[in-house]
């Protein structure tokens, strides 16, 4: 038989307690379920991110293929795999001595952006240890020189002489000596770089314009380009870690007086001097000065371009792929320019000091202080001096040192060149007439 109940005050209390208890319990259960649902979603998102990453990597390869097929390709959508609709979006931008590709990949809501820097394939000449950039010069080994690998000499052999008053061995070369023909030298496209250099100096398109002076670096930490009028000193009391890839255009000189960590893809162009007093840390940075660049230490890779002088000193390590480029300048019908590598400096990449376009009297030079090392290639179409230490290729138009009572020209003294110590793959920035085949120099995730 059916029963009927009439709620008493006691029952009502019990009921409300139960309802409260049930609500709390349901909330707890919902929370637990929510946490697990979140974990499942997270793992799925990880999977999508992973697929987006591999798609971006594949997109980078497809873009490289596309560029080698049609160098005028401006970027755009690229299909990846036959049989499905997976695609990536590629932005292409000429970026100094490299092509810079930005590859956007998306799987559901997960996005990955990769940056790839493209150069050109290494030319055969750069398999050599030493190349004379002047096809008339006679070369002599001297002092503690050690060269391992093929050398290209105009005469097809070393000039056999011993340095006067020098009791040491007359240098050592292990490898082939080949005669050098003018046609074998690299077909350079210096104008290509020079045009960009000039454009950068005139670039004052910053949406934000500020007056120079002493400024805290954080104030210039913006995504948007910034133009600075006049000389500027960036100083902070402690280490500065910039949060954006900055674009600074300075009509004047800039001095970085504090330790600064840059975001990848940062650019600093100035018409005057660019001086870094403290250490800097950067990846894929592009610095250009209309006069001189001085770096005093740190760890970075990127492009260092200047017109008059590049002074690398302190405990500075430029990692691969770094591109040091000096244009040189004209004064009183002579051609000047200096690159100085301090004794604790290492450059992994290329040092490029191109030939004099007007064939004026050259007084420019590249100097290695004792202990400075380049891993990659030195392409110096001017004079070199100092204790050259290269794990790679050394191309120079001349070499000089002074030993009382006279200057010696083109006696390779205390030079160490070991191309086999250079890691592979090793390719080139876009310094040659033929930019193809394009090669990936490096890439990273933005």
């Amino acid at each position: 038989m059916a029963t009927f109940s009439i709620i008493t005050a006691k029952d009502a209390n019990s009921l409300s307690s139960i309802l409260v208890f049930m609500t709390l319990l349901l909330l707890f259960i919902a929370l637990v379920l929510g946490v697990f649902r979140f974990r499942i979603l997270q793992v799925k998102q990880d999977g999508q991110k992973l697929q987006a990453y591999y798609n971006a990597k594949s997109g980078m390869q497809r873009a490289l293929e596309r560029l080698n097929d049609s160098p005028s390709w401006k970027g755009g959508r690229l299909s990846l795999f036959s049989g499905d609709t997976t695609s990536v979006w590629v932005e292409r931008k000429l970026y100094g001595g490299v092509e810079r590709l930005k590859i956007h990949s998306k799987v559901r809501n997960e996005r990955v952006v990769l940056i790839a820097l493209l150069g050109t394939a290494k030319r055969k000449l750069l398999d050599a240890a030493f190349v004379s950039a002047d096809i008339r010069t006679q070369w002599t080994l001297a002092g503690n020189t050690e060269i391992e690998g093929t050398v290209y000499l105009p005469a097809g052999n070393w000039n056999q002489q011993v340095l006067p008053n020098d009791g040491r061995l007359p240098g050592r070369h292990k490898g082939k000596v080949r005669p050098l023909k003018a046609s074998e030298l690299l077909k350079l496209d210096v104008e290509f770089l020079q045009e960009q250099f000039n454009q950068n100096l005139n670039q004052q398109d910053g949406s934000t314009r500020i007056e120079g002076g002493t400024i805290k670096p954080e104030l210039l930490d913006q995504n948007e380009p910034i133009s600075v009028i006049g000389d500027v000193v960036l100083h902070a009391d402690s280490t500065v870690r910039l949060k954006h890839p900055i674009n600074w255009f300075i009509d004047g000189s800039i001095t970085l007086a504090s330790e600064v960590h840059f975001m990848p893809g940062s650019r600093i162009f100035c018409t005057g001097n660019l001086q870094v007093i403290d250490q800097i840390f950067a990846q894929d940075i592009w610095m250009q000065s209309g006069k001189q660049i001085t770096l005093s230490g740190g760890l970075m890779n990127g492009q260092i371009w200047a017109k008059e002088k590049i002074n690398l000193k302190g405990n500075l390590s430029l990692t691969y792929p770094s591109f040091v480029y000096l244009t040189g300048y004209e004064y009183n019908r002579k051609r000047f320019g200096e690159i100085i590598l301090g004794n604790r400096v290492s450059v992994d990449g290329w040092i490029f000091y191109p030939p004099n376009p007007k064939r004026q009297d050259d007084v420019g030079f590249l100097k290695f202080e004792s202990g400075a090392k380049v891993r990659g290639a030195v392409l110096n179409y001017n004079r070199t001096e100092g204790e050259v230490w290269i794990e790679g290729t050394f191309l120079t138009a001349g070499f000089s040192f002074y030993e009382s009572p006279q200057y010696y020209l083109n006696w390779l003294r205390d030079v160490r060149i070991f191309p086999s110590a250079r890691p592979t793959p090793f390719d080139l920035p876009l310094i040659t007439e033929d930019k193809r085949p394009y090669r990936i120099l490096t890439w990273y995730q933005e």
């Binding site: 009921l15 379920l33 974990r39 793992v43 594949s58 080698n68 795999f81």
Partner: protein
């Protein structure tokens, strides 16, 4: 208030308690089941992703071509590498008990050599 309870009947409070216990029991059981299932599912997805990356990386590094099948514990991995004139293509699929858990694809361009 007045209360009248007939013999053998249940009060509203008792009915509520019984109902609540049932709901708790069912939700609790479902929760535990979901927890166990989801925890395993999370782990499986994670393992499948790791396996796919590992087998793909090996193929990319060694430019491995051809179809290969691997077994790791309860997992089956199918890797297919194809060499085309201008590129390599790989795909890795990771299965468990016939169910596909994860898949990765990759291309590597066969860069031409510079001819001087």
């Amino acid at each position: 208030m007045v209360s009248r309870v007939e013999e053998g009947g249940f009060s509203l409070a008792e009915v509520s308690i019984a109902l609540a216990l049932w709901v708790i029991l069912i939700l609790g059981a479902a929760g535990i089941l979901w927890r166990v299932m989801s925890s395993e599912e999370v782990q499986r997805n994670s393992i499948a992703q790791n396996l796919a990356v590992r087998y793909l990386s090996r193929a990319e590094a060694g430019l491995v071509v051809g179809e290969e099948r691997f077994v790791e514990g309860n997992w089956q991995i199918v890797r297919k590498g194809t060499s085309y004139t201008r590129s390599w293509y790989w795909e890795v699929k990771v299965f468990r008990a016939g169910k596909k858990y994860f898949e990765l694809k990759s291309i590597q361009y066969r860069a031409p050599v510079f001819e001087e």
